[in-house]
Subunit: 291 residues, 2 copies
């Protein structure tokens, strides 16, 4: 029996960077007080979701991975609370910029870096203007409480990334997120349930718990505004939602899993036994021709 | 605008093979009367789900693809009703046996053969005793009403197959199925919602409608019994269930999609634009090491 408690969290961000970090830390403390061993804070929580607009000024928000003060501050918190903390941040790396994540173990050690692989682009979500598609590949980390994989926001729509992390041994998946309404000229889609169903599918297909943390609040850009829909959740290994937050309130929720029991059921269900890798060649391309 | 109506169906099978086929044909007619252009009949509908037991006698139920009387009969029906019919059957091929599907176009032409790629094995589902894992790879067919892909039952749990068919141009996915309770010594799992969520995830991740048809009824084997849970459904391209049947009643349901509108929204959402095939090498293996 290996009981592990996972937490999702959400809050609204402002242009007061210190206040955002303080709020994130408060929520991590609240989750730890509920017994959480791993706490997921939302994507790019230091600032508003600056990718609403294509503005050269926003590149100044980035900072290097090495010596990053945000990561150091969160690592100190992780150590003091004995929790694993995936930390989303805007990375400057040489002349490139990435949408990145530092994985912090419960002893405060920074285990490594993941750079968002899938970069969206569309009205309100101008990420291709800022971020080079990640060059790290998918990563999992052996932490004090289990082996965990993290994708970042748009990564959550791609079954390949979830599967890759599961194949590398991920016992749970984490997706820090910033998603809400689609500003014009997009059709006025509410993607909340679509967003959830795709990740519930990853959980169910890989038989792993999954945590998504998404921001809340209305943020105005130059071209329009986005209302982020929160709805952060924890799903169990059959894709069932076991804990969730609503669209508008900040907070944390937790769910506890026996990761040894999950592993036994995963093996028994046979999904990894029966894969046919020799038939998956077309996934290495864009057009479905075998590779 | 290209409006296409898809139908799911379900019924209980007995050892009266002619009655099973007659029932399947009745349901296809009922779906066509509701305007269906494509009608999905459940997996291996000629007989009870014989894979409950490992019995040598059951190999005699198989028949070759060429000259197959079931396929001929269903092709005649397809032509008379102007509907596309995926036809599941137990195939004998040389010394091998496959869990196969013939794709029949609305003019009665047999477009080709797919052999189930992923073969389950567990209490009540002894498919590895009967079926060689399929050697056709995933297939899509250009039919009168669109380009469609079909997976067979256990295939429905594997995101790779759904993605492969989507990459080949599938505008909708179809999964004929036979699934129900887990007989002892399995834990008494009700997998109905898990089963649905994984397929809803495929629909949402690939932005395609998806149809699943599953049998109903209690079938006794030598070792135990299975209560098949029906719950056949049609999902829309965000994974939402738009039409469904219950656990116990036979019937058909339909849902209509504008496949041109779906294609436009799929392109706009960007899921195929932003894939990173160069990062998906580990999916070509079982252990997550890059290949």
């Amino acid at each position: 029996m290996r009981s592990v408690t996972l937490a999702a969290s959400q809050f609204a961000c402002s242009w007061d960077r210190k206040a955002n970090i303080a709020k994130a830390k408060d929520l991590v403390r609240a989750a730890a007080a509920k017994g959480a061993n791993v706490v997921l804070v939302q994507e790019l929580f230091e600032t508003p979701y600056f990718c609403q607009d294509q503005l050269a000024d926003h590149f100044a928000l980035a900072a290097p991975f090495e010596g990053n003060p945000l990561i150091a501050e969160m690592a100190e918190l992780a150590k003091s609370l004995n929790v694993v903390l995936p930390v989303s941040f805007f990375e400057q790396a040489g002349r490139a910029h990435f949408n990145s994540l530092a994985m912090v173990d419960a002893d405060g050690k920074v285990l490594g870096l993941y750079r968002k692989s899938h970069i969206p682009d569309g009205p309100g979500y101008q990420e291709k203007f800022y971020f080079t598609p990640g060059d790290t590949g998918f990563k999992v980390w052996k932490t004090r409480f289990g082996t965990f994989g993290v994708g970042i926001c748009w990564d959550q729509w791609f079954p390949e990334g979830a599967r890759a992390m599961a194949l590398m041994g991920a016992e749970a998946l984490f997706y820090p997120t910033a998603i809400g309404t689609e500003p014009p000229p997009s059709p006025p889609v509410d993607s909340r349930d679509h967003w959830r169903r795709v990740m519930q599918g990853h959980a169910g297909a890989n038989y792993v718990p999954l945590v998504a943390s998404n921001r809340i609040g209305k943020e105005k850009g130059q071209a329009g505004e986005i209302t982020f829909y929160g709805s952060s959740f924890v799903a169990g290994p059959t894709g069932e939602i076991v804990a969730e937050l609503d669209r508008t309130n900040e907070g944390v929720v937790t769910a506890t899993f026996d990761l040894d029991e999950v592993a036994k059921m995963r093996a028994s269900w046979g999904l990894f036994r029966d894969r046919r890798p020799e038939l998956y060649g077309s996934l290495r391309g864009h057009d479905g021709s075998p590779r």
